[in-house]
Symmetry: C2
Subunit: 210 residues, 2 copies
DNA sequence: GTCTATATCGCGATAGAC
DNA sequence: GTCTATCGCGATATAGAC
């Protein structure tokens, strides 16, 4: 039952995941075939499907890995409890995330795309996205609760409500931005939204004030 | 150059569109094949593709038709200039639209799904969605401008900004709602958003007040 | 047992005959 | 305007190699 090092299968899966991640980011989901990915990983498409049950499941793994990296960046407290990051800094990191996603063109919109696809209960990514939004809502709500309380004057809005709205706003803005980048100043709109709730988040690197 | 009645081709296209609309709404986009739709319309899938260049273009037509019906419902002033609808009523209709969409399960999320897919410039639905969001932003902004001015006290927020945020919020909420309906009181969150901008929209059928 | 390849299926899409 | 034939695709099942 115990294993001392990565098995050959784990190394193969990592190789597949690297190839898929690279090709998806380069050309998008639909434009890349399993046969291309398999070739990049040195096998046939059927061999690839032995490790991952399907193309969408493979995309799911690519997104999950990126999600893990984002989470480590956004909520370092979850992974490194010893090091305290001011909530105001975390909030700005979340706002910055919208633009960070925009810098990887091939992967832009893949999240909202697959999230929309995953609406049907049978979809391979369904459970993952349900859990993802639950975690994000909870984490952002907890963060907002602290920021609201620390603001001067304190913000009276419900952190849970604002967290859900903030998530929806960022997703929806990304959809419009992907269609017509010039028409959607994403970061600006998110800052405007927080400002409407009495929270002033300075545009540059200044502190968050009430 | 003139035509007195619907051609055979137009009748065939209408038949195809009816079949596609019914099957997409019933089972979603991916679960339905062109061969099924063609069979329902009394032809082979190649025959269907003579009238519509591809499956996504067919979906696009289905969505566009629904869009036209929604527009006639939301902005009747555009089609019937003689009849004046109070902006407050139009605003509530927009808020109601989020729930109206939720009552056709098969078509839920298809808009946000295809909108996300249409991000790439080459996508058959790209131009359509760019135009769609432009129109919606402009119409909702014009509507908000009036409602803001009529509210007591008048709302000072920028109608263009709030219109873009409102659209994004409704799209994003629909994504979360499709994944976990119980976790997302869509209408409530939209009302909360407008309330944050000083606009009180009564939950029931009362008037909009400032 | 762990892994990969061959064979087959229905799919969306295209080309060309009628 | 509709068909038949054909292509590469994602997906599945099954057999075979290490």
């Amino acid at each position: 039952m115990s294993r001392q090092h990565a098995t050959k299968g784990e190394r193969t899966r990592a190789r597949i995941l690297d190839a898929a991640s690279e090709l998806f980011a380069l050309s998008g989901f639909n434009a890349v075939s399993l046969r291309e990915i398999a070739a990049h990983a040195g096998m046939t498409h059927a061999g690839l499907l032995h490790h991952y049950p399907g193309k969408e499941a493979l995309l799911l793994e690519v997104l999950a890995r990126r999600d893990r990296e984002d989470a480590a960046h956004l909520f370092p407290g979850m992974l490194q409890p010893g090091e305290a990051v001011p909530p105001a800094v975390q909030l700005r990191r979340i706002v910055d995330l919208a633009e960070r996603n925009s810098r990887t063109p091939g992967l832009v919109g893949l999240y909202t795309l697959v999230a929309a696809e995953a609406a049907t209960p049978g979809h391979p990514a369904h459970d993952y996205f349900v859990a993802r939004y639950r975690v994000l809502r909870r984490e952002i709500a907890a963060l907002l609760r602290t920021v609201f309380a620390e603001a001067a004057p304190p913000v009276t809005a419900d952190p849970d409500v604002v967290a859900q709205q903030l998530l929806a706003l960022m997703d929806g803005l990304q959809t419009q931005w992907a269609l017509e980048p010039d028409a959607v100043p994403m970061r600006r709109r998110v800052v405007d939204f927080l400002a409407a709730h009495g929270l002033r988040l300075d545009i540059e690197d200044g502190p968050v004030t009430g």
